[in-house]
């Protein structure tokens, strides 16, 4: 788990650097939220599904998706770069909370096949205000599908603080109204996140119904590279959360338990550097997207209209 978090943060830092170099169109950082994303994903079984948002790149890397394929969306050469079925990871969702009901439908379909596939939906504090979050919670509870909604409450929805999103005492309280279990967990404690997500998944799989887990964490970096957080939050707040860094905390715990030492940490950091170097190298060139592919995946078979537009575009690009 520590290894995945260190690798994840290094990946995150590399992606940020690539964005500043113009290699990525945009990058929403996971820095500070590694305990949620790694702790949550490592609780999933092989057949379970992950439903991530655009801010969950570290979760996808932890799930084993090729880091370059994770970055396809943000590099901008296609929308989603990985095979959802192969990794049991839905495409990263940008319209907030809209993929939550997909998880409900997917686990419903799995149950129809006689499988106990569960799903973990990652969502932010802002997303809980969306109507689609409400509908997904309600469908999951009524249909008793094994879906765990992990709310990474990172305190800020771009510039809007969580107290402007909800009057509920906690986001976990929302579970009560849907007749499901609600958990509140320290989202910077990876072991705690892993334990509570594992428990919620096990209960859901056993027919105990879905659950909402609110994990209290913090978005250390700006919303994306285009954000200006100094306009809405104090550095002192960020500093206070830096002192609760989830990686430092897990490392301290594992060192105290004698699970990891200096040499172990060096091996982890070497692995992280190696991954970063590979990502850097593979993204060093310019992407060469094929304009003909624009028409390839609109319908199962291209319509006459699309075939005509494809011909015209290819003529145009040849002339150009």
């Amino acid at each position: 788990m520590l290894r995945a978090m260190v690798v994840g943060r290094r990946f995150d830092r590399q992606a940020g650097a690539l964005t500043r170099q113009g290699r990525l169109a945009v990058y929403p950082s996971s820095h500070g939220q590694e305990a949620c994303q790694v702790g949550g994903v490592l609780a999933l079984a092989e057949d379970d599904w992950l439903f991530p948002t655009y801010r969950d790149c570290v979760a996808l890397v932890t799930r084993g998706v090729d880091p370059v394929e994770v970055l396809t969306l943000l590099r901008g050469d296609w929308h989603s770069g990985y095979d959802p079925d192969r990794h049991r990871c839905a495409p990263q969702c940008t319209p907030l909370a809209t993929n939550a009901s997909h998880a409900v439908g997917l686990t419903y379909a799995a149950r129809r096949k006689g499988r106990d596939t569960a799903a973990l939906v990652l969502m932010g504090d802002g997303a809980t205000s969306e109507g689609d979050a409400h509908e997904a919670y309600n469908f999951a509870a009524v249909w008793n599908t094994p879906v765990v909604f992990l709310i990474q409450n990172n305190q800020w929805a771009i510039s809007v603080p969580v107290h402007r999103q909800t009057a509920a005492p906690t986001l976990a309280h929302k579970a009560i109204g849907y007749g499901m279990r609600g958990y509140h967990v320290d989202g910077n404690d990876a072991a705690a996140v892993h334990a509570v997500v594992s428990r919620a998944l096990a209960e859901a799989r056993a027919g105990g119904g879905p659950a909402i887990i609110e994990a209290q964490t913090y978005r250390i970096d700006p919303h994306t590279n285009a954000d200006a957080p100094q306009r809405y939050r104090d550095d002192a707040e960020v500093e206070a959360w830096r002192r609760r860094d989830p990686i430092a905390r897990l490392e301290a715990l594992l060192r105290a338990e004698g699970v990891v030492d200096d040499a172990g940490m060096r091996r982890i950091e070497d692995a992280a550097e190696e991954l970063a170097a590979r990502v850097r190298e593979r993204l060093s060139g310019d992407p060469e997207p094929d304009p003909a592919e624009l028409f390839a995946h609109v319908y199962a078979a291209p319509t006459a209209q699309l075939a005509r537009q494809r011909r015209e575009l290819l003529d145009e690009t040849r002339e150009g």
Binding site: A103, V104, R112, H297, A304, Q305
Partner: protein, 347 residues
């Protein structure tokens, strides 16, 4: 041959799809024991059980969103939106996910699902029960948008929609649910993406779909009495659009009127008119005209007859297609039929 209603043909199509393919599920609001507010799912829960046809919570976005997840994982959901305007909460799911999933995932994930939507007016219902929002869906790449006008097509198109690897928005003309035809089911008609000539003619082409096909056919019948031969094309598929059939008809007749219930401004008819102009310009004797609903929010039931295109309004448009008389200066155009009354207009 048995008399079959359009609604009954849809019911039979769902029944046969459920029987043939265990991956088909039907759900939505009140589609279970009640059989849907229009009874299109009548008897399906009793016959196939609550696993195959069931009531869901009353939330359209959730209905379509869960269908996306089911279709991602091997099921073929057929969901019902109770009325056209009540499908709007699901619009984001339809546009951002249903239409785009294949594209976003580079063809790795397809969504074989059907969203059934009773649409259009003419049933004397109160507000939010008579809308025609086909243009929104047809404007969205990645969706197939289909609408039957006859009981035979209702059966055949719905079977084809359920079997399609692409998501289909299936628009059911609610005022025609009770239209009857002598028909033996199952029946297969022309392929889903083809328009058909419902009535051959030589002087002008009426292009219609869904609820307006019957109106166009009635107009063609009246026109015959007046000595004009009108061809009627039933589009059936609004997306993709069958350019070949439409263009061939208009090239033969040289004149075209597009008829739909939806408001005319920026409506589906604008696309049809533009495509005909682009492809048939040298064959046209007159500008392509549109007969649609007024550019107003859907009116209350006692006023809907003024909004909905009538046979008279269609024939008035045909009169305006620059026939020889209208080229002669100082000859006033014929008065509109509704104002003048049918008998006077004919005299």
């Amino acid at each position: 041959m048995a008399a079959t209603t359009l609604g009954g043909a849809l019911n039979r199509a769902l029944r046969d799809a459920l029987a043939e393919d265990p991956s088909v599920v039907v759900y939505g609001e009140d589609v279970g024991p009640l059989g849907g507010v229009f009874r299109v799912t009548d008897g399906l829960t009793a016959e196939f059980g609550e696993d195959r046809c069931f009531d869901s919570p009353l939330a359209e976005s959730g209905i379509v969103g869960t269908a996306v997840g089911m279709a991602m994982h091997g099921l073929r959901p057929v969901v019902e939106m109770q009325f056209d305007a009540f499908a709007l909460p699901a619009f984001e799911q339809v546009v951002s996910h249903v239409a785009k999933m294949r594209n976003r995932t580079r063809g790795r994930v397809e969504l074989p699902l059907v969203i059934r939507i009773p649409y259009g007016g003419g049933i004397g219902a109160v507000e939010h029960h008579g809308d025609s929002s086909e243009a929104y869906y047809a404007h969205t790449p990645g969706l197939r948008v289909v609408t039957p006008a006859t009981p035979a097509d209702a059966y055949s198109l719905l079977r084809e929609a359920v079997a399609s690897p692409d998501p289909v928005v299936f628009l059911e003309p609610k005022r025609r649910y009770w239209d009857r035809a002598d028909l033996d089911l199952p029946v297969r008609t022309e392929p889903m993406d083809r328009a058909v000539v419902r009535r051959p003619g030589t002087d002008a082409t009426l292009i219609a779909y869904g609820p307006m096909v019957a109106t166009a056919l009635e107009a063609a019948e009246e026109a015959r009495a007046e000595g004009r031969s009108l061809e009627v094309v039933d589009l059936r598929s609004l997306a993709p659009f069958d350019d070949d059939t439409v263009a061939a008809s208009v090239r033969r007749t040289g004149r075209a009127v597009v008829v739909h219930e939806a408001s005319t401004f920026a409506g589906y008819g604008a696309e049809v008119a533009a495509r005909i102009t682009e492809q048939c310009f040298h064959h046209l004797e007159a500008p392509v005209l549109r007969v649609g609903g007024l550019d107003i929010p859907y009116p209350p039931p006692h006023l809907e007859e003024y909004h909905l295109p009538s046979v008279d309004r269609v024939l008035d448009a045909v009169d305006r297609l620059q026939w020889e008389a209208s080229w002669v200066p100082d000859v006033p155009p014929p008065p509109p039929r509704r104002a003048a009354g049918r008998a006077e207009a004919r005299s």
